[in-house]
């Protein structure tokens, strides 16, 4: 029995059409889409939970859900949004889809491991959500699961939560190993590291953080589960244990986790802006060093989450200074993006609008972040809504805005069809207004002492809470144009052609959607992924006006 054509054999083994998205496919593009769709499903679930939170907080009394239920809802909301939406989508979805293109490979370094990493996610998510129904009560101790709270709330739900997070952590580590090996080992011959698109560097940095920090969380959660099941006393003060050790170990993962969520977003924005501004990415080298500096600094700032946990003065000093230093590489990246846009022929389409809004939101979240690193200020606003506002400006205003920008930018690559720009801009407008309306007032609430994670509050806070809830309602409505857009476009959207943005990065130098082997022939050697400047003339784009580029999204 001889196999004449391996590709033929593969076709007979792998389901075709839409069925392949429900199969154990080894194609990095299929896995990327699986991550994306799966992530969006969890986003809608987590969003509905956020809706419950904001409805409850529309009035000072706990009159919408019971207090216990409120705690379950906020725990599930946080866990789903972090571990099942942002981390899998910015890493798993866009990383898997784009990285092999960017390094000039046919697939990831370990395709089977890649598929395993994805297929850990749906069971973990279902496990997490079903704990509410099966275990009698979902975890109630927040996504941080601080003991002794996590030791005193119903054990079954907490154990299911731990199990779910361990599965998701495993998935994340497998993904990280794959990205590191792909970027370092699978580059096509002749392609140097400093010629890679910026997203590769972002994913390399992110994956280093994943590999170094996620295992520590896993070990910590195993010890916590011993405390719950075997009644050991690692983190139980009543048995001589030490809760602060849990906090240290937890934040050793969970602070880098913020960078695991935003570094890929930095990379994606660095891909989107040069294409639509028709200019090279400004300061490539400084961008690379900034990412690596953020990786190193990100690992040594965790205790700024613990300034109220009896940290000794030297520790406060060190972590304040180290945290403040992060503003330097982050600032470099921001000025690089602004310089990339400066003087460019900017096409203000949905992808760029979301990217620019990301810059706006993230600068705001970054400034409150530097403020929170200062001990006196942090002690004042610790565990208040100021922290909630800061965090959402980083992960929603930062990462989620970039996910939307990336969706508009790469949807033509995924499907061969262009998303509708009018619906896209409506989506942007509703999201941007809704987001800022929802979270900006929470800074004021936190400064004035409204604690987070409590179902009831002082009636003096009512007005701004109601404003915030209206913002949340707008955010909920904003998903409608997105869903309508995606569905309508998939059915009858205008064909995009292979390269609707006239981009130079390698994923556009093939058909849209790409063939299974990514390129019909050999992978192209792209040594200047951002060579727009003079190259634009060579490509005869010089005659195009800004208006043409604007309307290019509609053609």
């Amino acid at each position: 029995m001889t196999i004449a054509n391996p590709a033929e054999l593969e076709q007979s083994l792998q389901p075709q059409g839409w069925l392949k998205y429900f199969s154990f496919s080894l194609d990095h593009k299929v896995i990327g889409i699986q991550y994306l769709v799966c992530g969006f499903l969890f986003y809608f679930i987590g969003g509905a939970l956020a809706g419950v939170i904001r409805t409850e907080l529309a009035s000072p009394l706990s009159d919408f859900v019971r207090r216990d239920t409120y705690n379950e809802v906020l725990t599930l909301h946080g866990t789903i949004m972090i571990f099942l939406w942002i981390v899998p989508v910015v890493n798993g979805a866009f990383g898997n889809y784009l990285i092999p293109f960017y390094v000039g490979a046919r697939d990831m370094a370990f395709p089977r491991l890649n598929a395993v990493a994805f297929w850990l996610i749906p069971p973990a998510g279902i496990l997490l959500i079903s704990s509410y129904f099966i275990a009698g009560a979902a975890s109630q101790s927040g996504w941080t699961a601080y003991p002794p709270l996590s030791l005193t709330t119903p054990a079954a739900g907490q154990i299911v939560w731990i199990l779910s997070v361990l599965l998701l952590g495993g998935s994340s580590i497998f993904g990280g190993i794959n990205f590191i090996a792909t970027v370092l080992k699978l580059r096509r011959p002749g392609l140097k590291m400093m010629q890679l698109p910026m997203f590769c560097w972002a994913m390399l940095g992110t994956s280093i953080l994943v590999v170094l920090s996620t295992p520590v969380l896993a070990g910590t959660l195993i010890l916590l589960s011993f405390d719950i099941i075997a009644h050991t006393g690692f983190f139980n003060p009543a048995l001589g244990g030490n809760v602060v050790v849990y906090q240290h170990l937890f934040w050793f993962y969970s602070h880098p986790a913020v960078y695991i969520m935003v570094l890929p977003a930095f990379g994606l924005v660095s891909e989107i802006l040069p294409v639509h501004a028709r200019k090279p990415l400004f300061g490539y080298t400084t961008m690379v060093y900034s990412i690596m500096a953020i990786v190193v600094l990100g690992l040594i700032v965790w205790a700024h989450h613990m300034f109220t946990s009896g940290t000794p003065p030297w520790m406060r000093l060190f972590f304040t200074i180290a945290t403040s230093f992060i503003a330097v590489p982050t600032g470099i990246k921001f000025f690089n993006w602004l310089a990339t846009l400066w003087g460019g022929k900017i096409a203000l389409n949905s992808a760029v609008l979301f990217s620019c809004a990301f810059i706006f939101n993230f600068v705001f979240g970054g400034i409150t972040g530097v403020a929170l690193a200062q001990v006196p200020f942090d002690i004042h606003v610790h565990d208040t809504y100021f922290v909630v506002a800061h965090f959402h400006y980083i992960v929603y205003g930062g990462s989620v805005f970039v996910i939307f920008a990336s969706l508009y930018h790469w949807y033509p690559k995924f499907t061969g069809r262009l998303l509708n720009e009018d619906l896209g801009r409506l989506h942007f407008l509703l999201t941007f207004i809704g987001f800022n309306l929802c979270f900006a007032p929470q800074h004021w609430l936190g400064l004035n002492g409204m604690p987070r994670r409590v179902a009831e509050y002082d009636p003096a806070f009512t007005t701004w809470n109601q404003v915030s809830s209206v913002g949340a309602l707008l955010m909920a409505i904003s998903t409608l144009p997105l869903v309508i857009n995606v569905v309508l476009t998939a059915v009858s959207g205008p064909l995009a052609g292979d390269n609707p943005w006239r981009a130079l990065t390698p994923e556009w130098l093939t058909t849209s959607p790409p063939p299974v082997e990514n390129w019909a022939g050999e992978a192209p050697l792209v040594t200047e992924p951002y060579g727009y400047g003079e190259h634009t003339c060579a490509m005869d784009l010089g005659g195009l006006s800004g208006r043409d580029l604007w309307s290019s999204g509609k053609s």
């Binding site: 370990f110 920090s213 070990g219 690692f234």
Partner: protein, 204 residues
Amino acid sequence: MDTRLSQTTSASVVLPASEDESHGSHADHRLFGLATFLVADGMTFAGFFAAYLTFKAVNPLPEGSSYELELLLPSINTVLLLVSSFTFHRAGVACRSGQMTRSQAWLLVTTALGAAFLAGQMVEYFSLPFGLRDNLFASTFYALTGFHGLHVTLGVICILVVYWQARPGGRINAASHFGLEAAELYWHFVDGIWVVLYGILYLL
């Protein structure tokens, strides 16, 4: 026939037909991937060590509770593991030079040393004056040595699998021996962790 089909399948799914030959068996990348995973695994231990050292520095031992460790047995165990690293290395050298019978013999010796280590660990567990829940140090001691023991157990199973695969006509031979190299790397890692663990838990 079956093996051939499955090998062709995996290759074609992983890579397009034209690159099947040039990429060969991908051995280098798999070892690199394993090494990255071991870095991650090592971080789990690092977290445990950090917890143990902090407990020791901050939390006083409650009155009336005991936490004393005998040195003799774990020291013998340390020697056993270090020797087993050497014997595994010999097995690898023998395999690469095509002496599969000799390689299998070294693998058996390594297995015996690993099993002896686990037996020694069991003897120690049953002779210790404290149990899992007695105090913080006892808990951490059992968590750390238990987690390491789990790694050793897994390693012994891996060596037995490699031993089976290294039989005449098996999939491991002088030309193709990724499984053996992976198990060897893992075994050295587990030994290295034990040396650190021995230093921190028993000597410090």
